[in-house]
């Protein structure tokens, strides 16, 4: 979807701002929204750029900085914490050689932490883009990452 198609989908009402931002971010390949685009969104909804920027910066799911093809969100809330998500986060940092909120050199993975993902009976859990993975162990994390890498090579 390009930005015109997104605008066609939604009436120019402020209540559609979050939906529009989700659609743009999900379809432009960078998992982020740049300033030029924000200006167009502001214009479409008759809002000021600072209002739109204020919204983008408030919500953790949006980013103005380009991110990787896959965004890994690993839950750090109490249930996952109790079930070992802290050491999994360390494992992810070591394996991907990045810190939280950073992207790998090959632009494949961005590592983020998250609050409860609502799949706590499968703790510890993480989300990669729209897919949820539960009952994680280091081995399981490794095989998920490998699978995504090989999918990518076959793309």
């Amino acid at each position: 979807m390009n930005i015109g198609e997104v605008f066609n989908k939604y009436e120019p009402k402020k209540e559609n701002l979050l939906l529009i931002l989700h659609d743009i971010q999900g379809s432009n390949g960078t998992q982020s929204i740049d300033e030029e685009t924000l200006k167009k969104v502001a214009e479409y909804l008759d809002m000021s750029l600072s209002q739109v920027y204020g919204v983008v910066s408030f919500y953790t799911m949006y980013s103005t900085k380009p991110r990787g093809k896959y965004i890994i969100r690993i839950c750090q809330s109490p249930t996952c914490h109790l079930m070992g998500s802290k050491s999994l986060l360390e494992h992810l940092k070591e394996t991907l050689k990045i810190d939280v909120n950073e992207t790998t050199h090959d632009k494949m993975f961005t590592l983020e932490t998250s609050s409860c993902l609502g799949v706590c009976s499968e703790a510890p859990a993480m989300m990669i883009n729209d897919t949820v993975y539960g009952n994680l162990t280091e081995e399981k994390v490794n095989s998920i990452l490998e699978k995504l890498r090989s999918n990518h090579e076959n793309d």
Binding site: L18, L19, F58, M61, P78, T79, L82, S114, S115, S121
Partner: protein, 425 residues
């Protein structure tokens, strides 16, 4: 589309909101209809006046399942007499750690929620409903959108439903990763396309909500109870649960249990039953040490409290809260200090920063906890400072997020004082 196999434990005698979950195909409206679906709506629109629906909900004693337990009928009756455009806003932001009941309902029986919303709209005279779903719940969003489309096609949503003259429609909006947006006024701000900063109350949403128009804000589980109440009657509903907490509650039993999952059980079920009968006891044959109930904005309770009945009044008498129904079970090896730090990190992370007690208080408490851990010298009694700070936050914070820090802190300190005071020594 399912990515996670949810473990749902049901005693069909008591299943109301989860009765169809896992049994019917959520993508087929015909499945819902075959299971008595939309019959309550038919009954209300043909035989009941709007105020009779309100009275029925009042008599049922239904209390809000979003955390605060406010009587639903009473909430509706504030909005009923107001004139002009009104809204039903379903709170599906479900961010309280340890909670996923609303997701189970939306992904397993979406039409029950739709029917509940239409009934709420009919009762208070609203013609438009919004479901605000957290952005992480992609499956719930898709399932609800599909169900709304099907309901429209079949004449349950839209103009002149069942030729009754009543019209109602629903739109799905989504969040983008902010726990505070579950607070009802922040939810409204976010729905309007703004940052999710809570508003000062009063005015309450029932009087001034979305675009300052009267808005009934109800949780998913609350609304999912409405069809059964209208269909089977308030008396049936009050025969389940306890006197002051009628009906059922979806609890989630999590952490160090053999069988983690969700269970719908009557109010008044004991913690022990939930943990040992449904949760199947503690992993590895270990002893239980503590439970955190109600999520992050909840309380730590020791093993000695396992006989507590899970209902609003018993928990209140014990300085505890039911919150969203999350029960996190911790075994004998759990470090309570470490868990408390984790809860405080959650609050710090999720504070919207609008008011200073919460914006400054949470990091301040974390800073002291860190010093305790690293045996850094601090003047005065460290725990006294922490408790004082949290009480000040309770008195002066703008919304219940900042007001809540005191609950996990003071409960942990009450029951695990020795362990907490001997940290880092």
């Amino acid at each position: 589309m399912k990515t996670i196999n949810d473990n749902i434990m049901l005693d069909s005698k008591y299943a109301i909101v989860l009765e169809n979950v896992g049994k019917i195909d959520p993508m087929k409206i015909s499945d819902y209809i075959e299971n008595n679906g939309y019959e309550a709506l038919r009954k209300a629109l043909s035989d009941m006046k709007p105020n009779e629906v309100v009275e029925s909900v009042k008599k049922s004693g239904l209390r809000g399942r979003g955390g605060a337990g406010f009587p639903t009928g009473l909430k509706w009756s504030i909005t009923v007499p107001l004139k002009g455009e009104k809204f039903i806003l379903c709170n599906a932001d479900e961010g309280e750690p340890g909670t996923f009941k609303d997701r189970l309902i939306m992904e397993g029986d979406p039409h029950k929620l739709i029917e509940g919303m239409i009934l709420a709209g009919y009762a208070v005279g609203a013609h438009k409903g919004y479901i605000y779903i957290r952005g992480e719940y992609k499956n719930s969003i898709e399932t609800m959108k599909h169900a709304i489309e099907e309901a429209r096609k079949n004449g349950y949503l839209g103009e002149n439903i069942f030729n009754s003259g009543f019209s109602f429609d629903i739109k799905v909006n989504m969040g983008a990763g902010a726990y505070v947006c579950g607070e009802e006024t922040a939810l409204i701000e976010s729905l309007e396309g703004k940052r999710g900063n809570p508003r000062i109350k009063p005015p309450f949403p029932g009087i001034k909500g979305v675009w300052n128009k009267p808005t009934v804000v109800n949780n998913v589980e609350t609304l999912a109870n409405i069809p059964a109440i209208i269909d089977k009657g308030a008396e049936w509903f009050t025969s389940i649960g306890t006197e002051k907490s009628p009906g059922t509650k979806v609890f989630s039993i999590l952490g160090h249990v053999n069988n983690p999952g969700a269970v719908e059980a009557p109010f008044g079920t004991t913690l022990r039953e939930l943990i040992y009968e449904y949760g199947k006891g503690i992993k590895g044959g270990k002893e239980i040490k503590a439970v955190l109930i109600g999520g992050a904005a909840g309380v730590f309770l020791p093993k000695s409290k396992l006989n507590l009945k899970m209902d609003y009044e018993t928990l209140k008498e014990n300085n505890a809260v039911l919150g969203s129904g999350a029960i996190l079970v911790m075994d004998e090896d759990t470090d309570i200090f470490d868990m408390l730090v984790n809860v405080m990190e959650f609050f710090k992370e999720e504070s919207c920063g609008q008011c200073s007690p919460c914006r400054i208080g949470n990091p301040m408490i974390l800073n002291i906890l860190d010093k305790i851990k690293r045996k850094k010298d601090l003047k005065g009694n460290k725990w006294e400072i922490i408790l004082k700070t949290a009480s000040a936050m309770k008195e002066t914070s703008l919304c219940a997020l900042g007001q809540s820090a005191i609950m996990p802190i003071s409960s942990a300190y009450t029951y695990f004082k020795d362990e907490l005071e001997n940290q880092g020594e």
